[in-house]
């Protein structure tokens, strides 16, 4: 492992991503320290989801480097990146709607062969989200919004990742459920998992995270400790509505 990246599980260096001709990410540089919760906040269309998809390899970075545990991953296909230990819970609760809760979780463990470990992790996911256990036979598409979000996070956890990428876990959910989900995110983090979180709900994201990045139209415009960003006048005005 490269010494420079010793404490950072993930490092993005000047990452540029395009959709056809649209310059979506204009040089993203950020780091995610091991064991932390890092959040990326910003408005709709700022490029938050693209950042996560570029890390996962679903979208390709045209320029720049992405290092995961000191290893270059920007040219790897998504399944290789997943195998290295990066799991993403995608935006809009993209679960397998005609598969059962159980099958969704099993799909998360698609790359794993250790049956006992899978069973244990499933029990763990059920203990984090007991409602999933009650509905394990139900088709994913018939779950409520909050339950689908829990299932998407649970499915990502079944990959046994070292780094968990969460795309807008609060999207379209009631405040009470958002609180529940963020509590669980902290609980997952206490288990030693590094979490990189993308959010529009800046208040919730910053109170949960250690470090925050603020993104605007494809660029990172601010970075600081999350608690400092909560106090930041600009951030308060633009994202916290104060």
């Amino acid at each position: 492992m490269n010494q420079d990246y010793g404490d950072n599980i993930l490092t993005l260096e000047d990452v540029h991503t395009y959709y056809e001709n649209i310059h979506a990410l204009k040089g993203i540089t950020c780091t995610v320290p091991k064991g932390s919760i890092v959040c990326l906040i910003g408005a709709n269309g700022a490029g938050k989801t693209t950042t996560l998809l570029t890390i996962s390899g679903v979208e390709r970075a045209r320029r720049g480097r992405i290092l995961f545990e000191g290893q270059n991953i920007e040219t790897l296909p998504p399944e290789k990146i997943a195998a290295l230990g990066i799991a993403q819970s995608p935006e809009g609760r993209q679960i397998f709607s005609r598969m059962s809760v159980m099958e969704n979780l099993e799909m998360g463990a698609y790359l794993r062969k250790d049956k006992e470990g899978i069973q244990q992790d499933m029990e763990w996911v059920f203990s984090l989200f007991p409602v999933l256990k009650d509905r394990y036979r139900q088709k994913g598409g018939t779950l409520s919004g909050g339950e689908q979000q829990m299932l998407a996070i649970g499915r990502a956890l079944m990959q046994q990742p070292k780094l968990l990428l969460l795309d807008e876990p609060s999207l379209g959910l009631a405040p009470k459920i958002i609180e529940r989900i963020f509590e669980t995110i902290q609980e997952i983090n206490k288990n030693g998992m590094t979490i990189f979180l993308v959010e529009q709900n800046a208040h919730m994201a910053l109170t949960t995270s250690d470090i925050g990045y603020v993104m605007e139209t494809g660029r990172i415009v601010l970075e600081d400790d999350a608690s400092a960003l909560l106090e930041n006048k600009e951030v308060q005005k633009a994202y916290l509505g104060e």
């Binding site: 399944e79 799991a87 993209q94 598969m99 059962s100 698609y110 990959q159």
Partner: protein
Amino acid sequence: MLGQEIKKLVIYTIFLAIIILPMLGFTGGAEFQAERAFLVFGIGVALLVLNLIVKVIRSHRPPPDHDKPSLPERIGDRLHRIPKIFTLGPLLLAAGTFPLVANNYMIDVGITCLIYVCLGLGLNIVVGLCGLLDLGYIAFYAVGAYSYSLLNLTYGFSFWAALPIGVVLGMICGCIIGYPTLKMRGDYLAIVTLGFGEIIRLVLNNWDDLTAGPNGLFGMKRPPLYYPTIEDGGLDMVTYYLTSLPGLFYFILVIAILIIIGVNRLDKSRIGRAWIAIREDEVAAELSGVPTTWLKLLAYAMGAGFASVAGAFFAAKLSYVNPNFFLFMESCIVLSIVVLGGIGSIPGIIIAGFILIAVPEVFRELEAFRMLAFGAIMTTMMIIRPEGLIPASRKKREFHRQRDEAERGPQ
């Protein structure tokens, strides 16, 4: 509620009148034949009224429990609980004795049904499991048929030697269409596959030197069987060509059973699960570590391979192929079988294959109205039962197994 339903009834009646009255009225020249037209129209309206009555009665009953599985699901569930020997045994027996009791015409229809069942099962991999809408599927059937025909006529390859070559060629064609369309979805993919199917047909139609163009190829040998005999004290292999219809029926029956077993295995495998994940959400599948690129190619290749087997048999059975056997309409019929049967459901596709091929034969006397009836049945089916005749129930069995295992727990 009642007012709304009556409004619907009026609209449907007007709709029916516009379609049926002129079509059935003006059959023998320009003179309007009121009696016949209104008879059919009357039946249609009666059905609609009946539907209304049923709906009204139903609305007075307590609302159905949504947690309870629907009737076909329950039937499917029940069927899975009966030991297989009691369900599959009689079916196999019926299929096995069919040629002994049926006349040649019926056997011929039976063979066609089985060919389409094979095609439906193959397309089910692409459309049903992987969720890639393929409108040019019949092209792979053509590749199989022409591969066998050309190899047999030009080089004298026997059916068994030509079959693997045909399958490989079919799979290559599957990848050729699959590769450029990897990033396409839905309607775009449908158009490209449609074009591809037509390209294959047009090539076959116009490459006179190789395929004899629209005249087609004929004189291929039937599928041979080899069996040993003892002659003059030595062991000898005798070649027997399957020329009789019952013989060919048994042959395609065996092929169909092998394909059913193969598709069933695929369905339950890791690969099958990954295909379903791709169908449900491609990005989520990618994020879960499914190598989508090569699994999609594999789906095309497998589907094309099964179609090639069916095509080779078709050419061998008929001893004749021409490009007009591989029209777009055939792709539509195969797709209809998959959709009608219930996307992803193997028993559903088998039943739908028989219904869609055999029923038009039964109604052959209706001639022109055959296709009208076909269309009407398809439309009605899609409205009242969009999930198909027998919805795929493989998932449910998996739950049972897993729950049993979970309850047993560590011992």
